[in-house]
């Protein structure tokens, strides 16, 4: 597991969702909103194309935390704001910085970016050490 002292960066997580990622996530999660899986529908409602599920992107933020902390039992809280849109076939980068450590808990400020846009911002994770 990563060192989680105040000011430390968590290891960056980089993942490029492939063309069919949103279809697999729709099946796994039960969220079949057509803006995520139907290119024609997405364009018809004014989007540039199919967009990633926000909760899939949040799952990448969560994975960066559990990887850093050493497993799922360490992730106690995660709050995020969704902004903008994420797209398939473009790399998503999750980064984070430990803001403070006290009473065996680390608070991590974390974001997910895609081509320089923050698609998850103001996210905060609480990890048990």
């Amino acid at each position: 597991m990563a060192e989680l002292s105040s000011g430390a960066q968590i290891p960056e997580l980089r993942v490029t969702p492939d063309k069919y990622q949103t279809v697999r996530y729709a099946g796994a999660s039960g969220d079949f909103n057509p803006i995520h899986i139907d290119e024609e529908f997405a364009r018809a409602v004014g989007l540039p194309g199919k967009i990633l599920h926000g909760l899939w992107t949040m799952a990448q933020v969560a994975r960066a935390q559990t990887d850093a902390a050493g497993g799922p039992e360490h992730l106690k809280r995660l709050s995020v704001q969704f902004r903008g849109m994420g797209f398939p076939e473009q790399e998503v980068v999750v980064s984070g910085t430990v803001r403070e450590v006290s009473d065996g808990r680390a608070i991590v400020d974390t974001v997910a970016e895609q081509t320089g846009n923050q698609i998850i911002r103001n996210a905060e994770a609480e990890l048990s050490l």
Binding site: V15, Y25, A28, A59, Q60, P72, Q81
Partner: protein, 146 residues
């Protein structure tokens, strides 16, 4: 049209979700997890768990049957076609493993309007078959042009 705030505080019937091993594995693969405690029964048992462990964000799956009804509740008049997911918080307790039965109750925490947008905040509380808290979630949905 102002938002209808009459449903604030409304609580919905609990929904029970039976957590399956293959569903956890399907979810874990779909979000790119590689930790064997999510995917491999023997690895999970070697780590001290009864069965494969659900990734924390699997809360989305077991909460879904409970958080659907408020979104489509006619009393709330939420315009689903104009809805975007604005924010999300999870507070986790006991880990969930395959074989658990999770009971989730949803509540309308808040409804308000700001800058011409409607904010619909739902909370869900999930417990396992032993009555242990496994997750409290706060779902913030934003409706444009209310």
């Amino acid at each position: 049209m102002p938002v209808n705030t009459q449903a604030i505080g409304k609580t919905y019937d609990p929904a029970v979700y039976a957590v399956g091993r293959e569903k956890i594995r399907e979810y874990a693969r779909a979000v790119g997890e590689t930790n064997p405690v999510y995917l491999d029964v023997e690895a999970a048992r070697a780590a001290g768990y009864a069965d494969v462990v659900a990734p924390p964000m699997f809360a989305v799956v077991y909460s879904a049957p409970a958080v659907g009804p408020p979104i489509f509740d006619p009393e709330i008049e939420l315009n689903f076609a104009m809805m975007v997911h604005g924010g999300q918080q999870f507070d986790w307790g006991a880990l969930v493993v395959a074989g658990d039965e999770i009971t989730t109750t949803a509540t309308v925490q808040d409804i308000y309007e700001r800058d011409g947008r409607g904010y619909y905040v739902f909370r869900s509380d999930s417990t396992n078959q032993r009555g242990e808290k496994v997750c409290r979630a706060t779902w913030t949905n934003i409706v444009r042009g209310v």
